[in-house]
């Protein structure tokens, strides 16, 4: 598979009336959950941000959260807001790069102009620059650790980020117009179950457990019982795990899930224009897996507004500096956040020496790999039912564009494999 982060393959097996689709990761596992064992609490974020170079800020934040909760450390609101801003900027940046570089080539025939390349690069650069101001770098952040910030972020920095954001407002809207004008293939979601974190994107209180996870049907209060809600299992054919929701249902998380939950349970704090836009596509979002592409660009606008809202009134007096180790206690903690592709869960257990004895990471790609397979099967079945002899090339093209719509991130998925 090309135009997907990491090495993966999609296999379609058609035998008479039986269709089976497998989405397998080919990349080597890098065993991060074992790598962190024995490490001190402050070293963990440096290691796990390298699980994935595309969404490193998400892993960094989730691990910081989990460790702070494990060791009983509280941070102040300004610290939490800035970290959340880093993650949001990363989501925005990831969406733009994914849509612009990885997805658009699938729909080139449907796009009116091709002047979008320089606009995409401009948005990418601006958002990356903003992310660098808060997080230190685009990949592998360096500005904060469990306990607080190590870099001093000044009010003038926040002002700079706000100015950078404001400069791409119209570009984002133009991008949205372009993406929303694409004709996406038709497909009915065979397992329309989804999950996302409550409160997103208006996280205004310091994030900490327990977490509320909304699904299409119910709500769960999740902390160290997360394995009851999201169970993972292993396969021989793939180097990544696959995940099922409670009651063994295939589900998805990500932009599509977040928007749907936002509509039903979110606070109406966004502009009415944006709210109207989301409502227009609500049905499409509910029914068609390809709609993730629309969801991503709409979410970009949502995040843009949310960032302006949360950063504008931000008062940084003296930002939480990293606390010394003797304030930390041993214990276990769970950090759950909304990463660019969906829910991300980090779990750590610290011993009295403040070293990790157990670690667990559940990534969004692992959550929706089964859903990719189920949707893929539905897609192939549709194709077979509609035409006499569907062209192999057509199946390949459509199935690949389906996979890309999810934006899987294989480096995230392959962080461990269990020995059989």
């Amino acid at each position: 598979m090309v135009r997907v982060a990491g090495e993966s393959e999609i296999i379609v097996m058609i035998e008479e009336d039986n269709v089976k689709v497998e989405y397998n990761s080919l990349a080597s596992p890098r065993f991060f959950e074992s790598l962190v064992r024995g490490r001190e609490y402050w070293e963990v974020p440096y290691v796990v941000s390298r699980v994935c170079g595309v969404c490193s800020h998400a892993h960094f934040w989730a691990s910081n959260l989990a460790i702070e909760l494990a060791s009983g450390i509280k941070v102040d609101e300004a610290t939490a807001t800035l970290r959340d801003a880093c993650n949001k900027l990363q989501i925005l940046q990831n969406h733009v790069v994914h849509l612009g570089f990885l997805v658009l080539p699938d729909y080139e025939h449907s796009i009116k102009s091709n002047k979008y390349a320089s606009m995409l690069l401009r948005i990418n650069k601006t958002v990356s620059d903003a992310l660098k101001l808060f997080g230190g770098r685009l990949t592998n952040p360096i500005t904060y650790l469990p306990g607080g910030f190590v870099t001093s972020i000044k009010p003038s920095t926040v002002e700079k980020v706000l100015n950078l954001l404001r400069s791409i407002g119209s570009d984002l809207r133009e991008l949205a117009d372009m993406i929303l004008s694409i004709d996406l293939p038709e497909l009915t979601d065979p397992s329309p179950r989804y999950a996302s974190l409550r409160g997103y994107p208006d996280i205004t209180v310091p994030v900490g457990g327990p977490y509320t996870i909304d699904t299409d049907k119910d709500t769960y209060v999740v902390y160290d019982n997360y394995r009851e809600v999201f169970s993972e299992y292993y396969l021989d054919t793939s180097t990544s795990k696959k995940c099922l929701m409670i009651n063994k249902d295939i589900f998805y998380s990500g932009a599509r899930a977040r928007l749907l939950n936002y509509l039903r349970r979110g606070k109406p704090s966004i502009s009415s224009e944006l709210r109207y836009m989301i409502l227009t596509y609500e049905k499409f979002l509910e029914e068609n897996p390809f709609s993730n592409i629309y969801a991503k660009v709409i979410e970009s606008l949502l995040i843009y507004e949310s960032l302006l809202q949360s950063l504008t009134p931000l008062k940084i007096r003296e930002l939480n500096r990293m606390k010394p180790g003797h304030d930390f206690k041993s214990g276990s903690g769970v950090g759950i956040i909304e990463a660019p592709r969906g829910l991300l869960i980090h779990y750590y257990e610290l011993n009295p020496e403040l070293r990790v004895v157990k670690a667990d990471i559940v990534t969004p790609t692992v959550m929706f790999s089964k859903h990719i397979e189920a949707s893929g099967e539905a897609l192939v079945r549709d194709l077979m039912n509609s035409e006499e002899d569907p062209d192999e090339a057509l199946i390949k093209k459509l199935i690949e564009s389906l996979v890309r719509a999810y934006d899987p991130c294989i480096p995230c998925a392959v962080h461990v494999v269990k020995k059989r």
């Binding site: 070293e43 440096y46 230190g136 770098r137 360096i142 500005t143 650790l145 190590v150 870099t151």
Partner: protein, 233 residues
């Protein structure tokens, strides 16, 4: 006010011009121009260390070597020769300049962590230009005695890591975890372990950082780490 500065004054108004060829480019320069001035006028650059234009051109460092009609001479010191063919850079010159820089480094004890030039080191910029590795990240880190992480007890591998990132992480308060790779010269290791870390950061904390990216640390350096660690007990 420039009086005491000009070590070489010609009559600027009535300069006699001569033609020289810099890397095959023809230019006309005053007859008493230095080779390095002619090279600059032609749009090229010669690496230097001791040269201070207007103040010092004793050619003691032997870095600014160029070829004039096939002969290797210091560009900051010698004047031009009429119709001279000046070569600013070729394989011979690159090799020679590198050797001379390495010899200079051999007479300079590397202790960037406590140096007054840290953050603005000319040896480091010259090393980057000529392709010599072995100077640690401390040389480009502006954190002096008031804010150096190690002096505050925070383990940071800057003094053993190959420079080139502009000390991106320590600048922001984040310790260096050695992602650029270890310095291979033993003298830097011994000096850093015995006179920089000692008293501020324990070897076991350092070893934990070493385990991030340096799993293939060569045996001789690992032994130095062990030796210093054992001497502590």
């Amino acid at each position: 006010m420039l009086d005491s500065l000009s070590f070489r004054r010609g009559n600027e108004g009535v300069a006699i011009m001569v033609r020289v060829y810099v890397n095959d480019r023809e230019i006309d320069v005053p007859h008493d121009a230095l080779i390095i001035e002619a090279v600059e006028r032609a749009g090229y650059e010669v690496p230097t260390l001791c040269y201070l234009k207007g103040f010092f051109n004793e050619a003691t460092c032997r870095i600014c070597l160029v070829k004039v009609n096939g002969r290797i001479v210091p560009a900051c010191r010698f004047p031009v020769l009429e119709n001279a063919k000046i070569v600013v850079e070729d394989n011979d010159l690159r090799k020679l300049r590198k050797i001379n820089l390495e010899l200079i480094l051999a007479t300079h004890e590397i202790r960037c962590w406590s140096c007054v030039r840290k953050g603005m080191c000319e040896l480091l910029s010259l090393s980057k230009k000529l392709g010599v590795e072995g100077i640690p990240v401390c040389s480009e880190c502006p954190l002096g005695e008031h804010s150096c992480l190690v002096l505050k007890g925070i383990p940071c591998l800057g003094s053993l890591t190959v420079a080139g990132c502009d000390a991106e992480c320590p600048r922001k308060g984040s310790p260096c975890i050695g992602c650029r790779g270890y310095i291979t010269n033993e003298d830097v290791w011994i000096s850093a372990l015995r006179s920089f870390y000692s008293g501020n950061v324990s070897i076991s904390e350092l070893k934990s950082l070493v385990d991030f990216f340096w799993s293939y640390l060569p045996r001789n350096l690992r032994e130095i780490l062990e030796e210093v660690s054992n001497n502590k007990r």
